[in-house]
C-alpha cells in the first residue's frame, strides 16, 4: 500500500478545502440555517408535531442529509474532474498507485469535508431547534457511510463528466429532486398510498429514514432495510470505480 501517495492526495484535497473555506463550509452552513429559520422557526411553528417530534426538529436529519449528499458529490466530483480538466491528472496516472489508493485519497478527503460539514450543521441546528440524538453511534455510522458512498458516486460523476455542465447535471437534475422528494421535509406516511409506494423506489428515502431513526427512534422504513440499501449503493459504487480503473474508462484512453 502506497501510504505516502494516499496522504499526499488527501492533504492536497484538504488544502483546497481550506483555501476555499467560504465556498466549502460557510456557504452550505448559511443555506441550511436559512432552511431552519424559514421551515423550522417561521412556518414550522404552525405545523403540528410529526411522530411526537416538533416540525423544526423533524427536518434536521433531512437537512443534514441534503447537505451531506450534495456536498459529498460536489467535493468528490470536482476533486477528480479538475485535474482531468487542467491536465494535472497525468501525474496520478503515471504514479505507482492503485485505484484503491487513489480512491482513498480523493474520496477520503471529500467524505471528511462532508462529515465535518454535517456535524457543523447539526451544531448550528442546535441553536434553532431542540435536538436529541437517541442512537449517536448509529447516527455517526449513517453519516460516515452516506458521506463515503456519495463521495464515491461523485468521484464516478467526476470521471464520467466531460464538461462543467455534465458535472452539475446529475446533482441538479437527479440528486437534489430525489432528496427533496425523499422525505427530508415530511414523513412519507403523510403521502397517499400510491405516492408512498412510488416514493419507496427513491433510494434517498432509506438514507433519510435511517438517519432520522438514529435521532428520534422513529423511521418511515425499517432501519435494517435503510442500512442494507445504503450498503448496496456503497458496494455498487466501489464496483463501478474498480471497473473504471481496470478499463481506464475516460482516464487512460
Amino acid at each position: 500500500m502506497n501510504i505516502h501517495a494516499i496522504r499526499a492526495i488527501y492533504r492536497f484535497e484538504m488544502a483546497r478545502t481550506i483555501r476555499t473555506l467560504l465556498q466549502s463550509i460557510v456557504s452550505p452552513v448559511i443555506s441550511t440555517s436559512l432552511y431552519f429559520v424559514v421551515f423550522g422557526a417561521a412556518i414550522g411553528s404552525r405545523i403540528s408535531e410529526i411522530d411526537g417530534v416538533s416540525y423544526g426538529a423533524f427536518i434536521v436529519p433531512g437537512l443534514v442529509m441534503l447537505s451531506l449528499l450534495t456536498q459529498s458529490i460536489s467535493n468528490a466530483s470536482f476533486g477528480i474532474y479538475f485535474p482531468r480538466f487542467a491536465g494535472t491528472i497525468y501525474e496520478v496516472l503515471s504514479a505507482p498507485v492503485s485505484f484503491v489508493e487513489v480512491v482513498l485519497g480523493y474520496v477520503g478527503a471529500a467524505a471528511t469535508k462532508s462529515i465535518v460539514l454535517g456535524l457543523i450543521i447539526l451544531l448550528t441546528a442546535g441553536f434553532f431547534v431542540p435536538l436529541r440524538v437517541e442512537h449517536p453511534v448509529w447516527m455517526l455510522c449513517f453519516l460516515v457511510l452516506t458521506a463515503v458512498s456519495f463521495s464515491l458516486f461523485g468521484f464516478i460523476i467526476g470521471i464520467w463528466a466531460d464538461g462543467f455542465e455534465k458535472l452539475q447535471l446529475v446533482p441538479l437534475l437527479i440528486v437534489t429532486p430525489l432528496t427533496f422528494l425523499g422525505g427530508s421535509f415530511y414523513s412519507i406516511d403523510m403521502l397517499p398510498p400510491f405516492w408512498r409506494a412510488v416514493t419507496l423506489f427513491n433510494p434517498v428515502v432509506y438514507l433519510v429514514s435511517g438517519f432520522r431513526w438514529s435521532f428520534y427512534g422513529k423511521a418511515d422504513v425499517d432501519v435494517g432495510v435503510s442500512l442494507t440499501m445504503t450498503l448496496v449503493f456503497f458496494a455498487l459504487c466501489i464496483a463501478l470505480v474498480a471497473w473504471i480503473f481496470r478499463t481506464g474508462y475516460r482516464l487512460r484512453n
Binding site: 502506497n2 505516502h4 501517495a5 496522504r7 499526499a8 492526495i9 492533504r11 492536497f12 488544502a15 483546497r16 483555501r19 487542467a86 491536465g87 494535472t88 497525468y90 501525474e91 496520478v92 496516472l93 503515471s94 504514479a95 505507482p96 498507485v97 492503485s98 481506464g248 487512460r252 484512453n253
Partner: protein, 308 residues
Amino acid sequence: MNSVVSVQALSKVYATGFKALNNVSLDIRRGEIFALLGPNGAGKTTLISTVCGIVNPSSGRVLVDGHDTVADFRKARDRIGLVPQELTTDAFETVFATVSFSRGLFGKPRNDAYVEEILKELSLWDKRDTKMMALSGGMKRRVLIAKALSHEPEILFLDEPSAGVDVALRRDMWAMVRRLRERGVTIILTTHYIEEAEEMADRIGVINGGELILVEEKAELMRQLGRKQLVLELGSRLPSIPPALADYDLELSPDGDALTYTYSTQNGTTGIAALLRDVDAAGLDLRDLRTRQSSLEEIFVELITQKQ
C-alpha cells in the same frame, strides 16, 4: 545490451480509430540520452504516455527495468519521472508544496532537504513560496522538471522540454540533463528542435505516422546519412559547368563564382582528388575551398520526405 526500457510490438488505436502507434519496438539503453524525433502527430507523446502508464496500449507490452508496466506497474512506474509537454500545473499551489506532493505521490517519504536541493539546482529556491499561477512559462517548465525529479527516478522522460522556453533556460536544461546522465539517469526526450538532439543525444529514433522509421547512434546516423559538400570558390565567373566536369555531381552558384560538389564518405573514394585534378586540367582558377556537412535537421527532413 543493457536495456532499461523495452518496448515490444506496441500498438495504440484510439476510440476514434486513429492509429497512433503501429507495432513499435524499441530498446533504451541504461544511462543513455535517447532523442525521439518526429513531426506533429507522429506518435511521440502517445509512445511516452503508454510507457508511463497514462495511456493503455491496444497491444504489445513495455518492460521498465524488467518490470511489466501493467502487471508490475508499481515497480515499473516507481523508476520513471515524466516532464509533460503541456504546462499543466496546479495554479493555486506553491512551488514547494507541488514538488513535495509529487514526491509523496510516488511513495517517497517527506524529505524537505532533498526538495530544497532540487529547487536550488533548478534556480527555483527563491520562488518556493510563490503560487504556480504567478510563475512565467519558463519557470513553470522548471517546476515540472523538479516534480519529475522529486522521487529520484532512474529514467526521465522529457516531452518537448524546450517548447516555449528561451535560449538561456534551454541551455540550463541541457546542462542539467548532462548532470543527470552523469549520475546514471537514463534520459528519453522528444523534441522538435533538431539542434537539441544533435547537441545532447547518444542515439536517435525517428518516428512518423506511428511507426519507428529508424533507431541509430547519432554519430553513425550522421556518418551514414550525412552528405558532405565541397565548395570551390572560383577566381573568375563561369557561364556554365565546363563539359570536362560534367560527370561530377556539381552545382554552379547563381552568380557563377562557386561550384558545389556533393559526395558521400560511405564509399571508399570521395572523388575529391580526381575532381581537383580535372578542375586544374580545365584551367579553372580556384580562390578558396571549404567543406560542410549536412545537419541532423537536413537528415531528419530527408527521412520524413522519403517516407511520405
